[in-house]
Symmetry: C2
Subunit: 459 residues, 2 copies
């Protein structure tokens, strides 16, 4: 694999141009106006998979946005790696906080700046280019399949059904995913756990029409006031979530395991500085990495009601809304939690309002065992190119479909991501360092080599 | 004044067409894009004042939107009535809840449907047409001045300065205002008190950029969660406002006065039915009319933060916002309350966020003594046309400038409004019954007659 660095050096401008052609398509899955962009982006991916070396590649329909599927079979007896990624991106609002246009990628300070630069166009495209290198240099050691979906940022709704329908086509020994972060450029790590997710839309209704806040204020429930109180009541003074039964299935982590986790480098002062905050804020009794790694949490991802524009309208609104999400940890059943919250929150409504909770989407948490071949292969690959043994970490993020793959396809995933915490994914000014992009392309071929070796030995 | 009914009958179509010409101008003071509409609306008012019988009328500049001023002097020795009204209207969002276009007035079910139909274009225009009747029939008993401002819905910011500058021009014996409601079409009433108002814009900042709710959720403060908690903490379990010192200056109403107020007809079941609510909600120990009439309250008029659009973006936002208002009662100093809240709320912020409170506008409460000539004249005028003695009521609403008139000009106001609680002012589907519009025009001339008599006796 020695010539991988040289191959990257000779082709880097083309790699970036190809990636930019994906980024320039505003494939925002949460906004229906981008429906056509989803199809355009899928078609562009298909072209890129074919040019990278796939024998065949197709844009396949689903109940929602299409899936791009491609494959290269070198020998059916050899192991098969299924690469998973997503071509959809998050919305870009608030646009005024971006320093550049989100869908016009720019390279500045050795980073790519754009929506999707990291999550997940930049990261999944590293997989395509690492694959291209192996094919072009005759070093591909196993069979490869690609599956890129267009609904990851809205819960992968259609991919579950797609997997059910295409179990045989998707048969593989491991699913390889680049959609997570590492600790730092000089501290490689592998995400050994992901949190699950549960998301609800909440609507609180007071009177059946907006009221004058003077004529009715003080006598008729204001749904914003009530919603705020109901949200406030979801946490106690120790920042524990108060929904009865919420923690019932949470695995208690042993003191020993916590001590092991605490060895990962983490500097609280730098962390606070990077966010410009004076203090962190979370569940009493847990450290910051534990709060995102092994503990569930509940966040309001959006809230609105009443007059949100310019000026000072004095209104007592009829309705207030919130988007509420929880992050779940291993062993919490997202469907159980989804119902638990809905029942609890609706019942908690005082008589002066009505509350409607609509479950939006969710997914289970995932844990990747450190003993599996894919983990060992990823560990060795990262050690080869970074010169340091990677640390296993638990991410606070969720890729709900990863637990779905295990359930439906019976295949474990390995989360070999090259992002950084500072990449501002889901936020304005998303970026991806060129170092990480090219280091990813350099590292992935070693994963294939080591994984194929270990799997072949096993047989 | 007998021929007033006949005059209205002969001119009703013209009256409505003239009113509609005002309504069709979208003079929304809270939205800067309507700056030109404010001037257009003021100019149209000027034309209508001249055609109604003013000797002169002018559109006069202020620091903000212009004031329309007109006058007719019949004899400097006679009493002078200064009519006050406003030509600006509230914003119209949410537009989708309107059954008709807000600035295209429609008559249906014997009501005018449009933004401003009642508040205050419909009501202030009754004043112009009652004046026209008296001038045209040679029955105007006193001098009249008109002052129509364009910033009432945003706090009358420029009118205070205008009054300071034009004290001599505005000299009068009473200020006559039609901008309030009566209890019902068969239950005339006079607003003898108004609540004051204090309004703030609140901004809560957590991290300096939006964060991924998975990677940071549970470890970094979510400004929406914190804002909700801070808002929830503004009321205790009895719905008392918890800001220290907030109630210090509130006048305690005697049991006797409360008993008198309780005689006003009020049916809780009908009230709840009219709003489609199961229960009312307010301060413990006070009835619904007391909660809006003699007690202050605190309402969130707007809140927003995070993802408020379609879909389910998982974001931990950097900022959350609210528009918070209190209604004040007699003896509460709005400037003192403004500072009290700002200091309290900013200091209440936990270390994990920063909170910025920007006072927006405010005004003192107002009480109209039942003994003054203007009150007695209004009482008798309403009794003449409705056949029933009107009940004095305290409105929960605010017209902050009314307290300002007393302070700056030394003139008391009489609030002789003809709206109904069901007119949906400040809300979608604002309307004004034709009965009330024409009954107002019929009643107002009697006020002039009785007021002039009483004032002349006094001299």
């Amino acid at each position: 694999m020695k010539e991988v660095k040289q191959y990257i050096e000779s082709n880097k401008d083309r790699f970036l141009e190809e990636l930019f052609s994906l980024i320039r398509i505003p494939s925002i899955s949460a906004e229906t106006e981008h429906k056509d962009d989803m199809v355009r982006c899928a078609n562009r991916w298909r072209e890129l998979l074919l040019s990278a070396g796939c024998d065949k590649a197709e844009v396949m329909p689903t109940a929602g946005n299409p899936v791009v599927y491609g494959e290269k079979t070198i020998d059916p007896a050899k192991p098969t790696v299924l690469v998973y990624g997503h071509y959809d991106v998050m919305p870009v609002a608030p646009l005024e906080l971006w320093n550049t246009k989100p869908f016009e990628p720019v390279i500045k300070d050795d980073k790519i700046w754009a929506r999707g630069a990291d999550d997940d166009k930049g990261q999944s495209f590293m997989q395509a280019k690492a694959f291209e290198f192996m094919v072009q240099t005759g070093q591909l050691p196993c069979n490869v399949k690609f599956m890129l979906e267009g609904e990851e940022e809205i819960g992968s709704g259609s991919l579950y059904g797609f997997c059910e329908e295409h179990k045989e086509m998707l048969r593989a020994d491991v699913i390889l995913v680049s959609d997570t972060s590492m600790l730092a450029q000089d501290t490689p790590s592998i995400t050994s756990g992901l949190r699950g997710l549960c998301y609800w839309d909440v609507e609180v209704t007071g009177a059946d029409h907006d009221l004058h806040s003077g004529l009715y204020g003080g006598a008729v429930a204001n749904p914003i006031n009530i919603l705020c109180k109901m949200i406030a009541d979801l946490h106690d003074e120790n920042n524990h979530i108060t929904i009865p039964g919420f923690y019932d299935d949470v695995l208690v982590i042993s003191d020993e395991e916590r001590a092991l986790m605490a060895q990962a480098p983490f500097n609280l002062e730098n962390y606070k500085k990077s966010l410009s905050i004076k203090e962190v804020h979370g569940e009493k009794g847990f450290s910051t990495p534990e709060r995102t790694g092994i503990r569930p949490c509940l966040d309001i991802c959006g809230i609105w009601g009443g007059h949100t524009g310019e000026g000072s309208k004095t209104v007592l609104p009829s309705k207030a809304y919130a988007k509420i999400s929880t992050r779940l940890v291993a062993n919490q059943d997202f469907e159980k939690i989804s119902k638990l919250f809905k029942d609890y929150f609706e019942a908690a409504a005082p008589d002066c309002v009505t509350v409607k909770v609509t479950p939006s989407h969710g997914g289970a948490a995932y844990v990747s065992p450190l003993e599996m071949n894919a983990y060992k292969a990823a560990e060795k690959a990262l050690e080869t190119t970074f010169g340091k043994r990677p640390i296993p970490t638990r991410s606070g993020g969720s890729i709900p479909i990863v637990a779905g793959f295990e359930r439906i396809l019976g295949i474990k995933s390995i989360l070999m991501g090259f992002g950084l915490g500072s990449d501002a994914i889901h936020a304005p000014n998303e970026n991806y360092p060129l170092f990480n992009f090219f280091k990813g392309i350099e590292t992935i071929p070693y994963f294939y080599e080591y994984f194929t070796e270990l799997e072949t030995k096993k047989q």
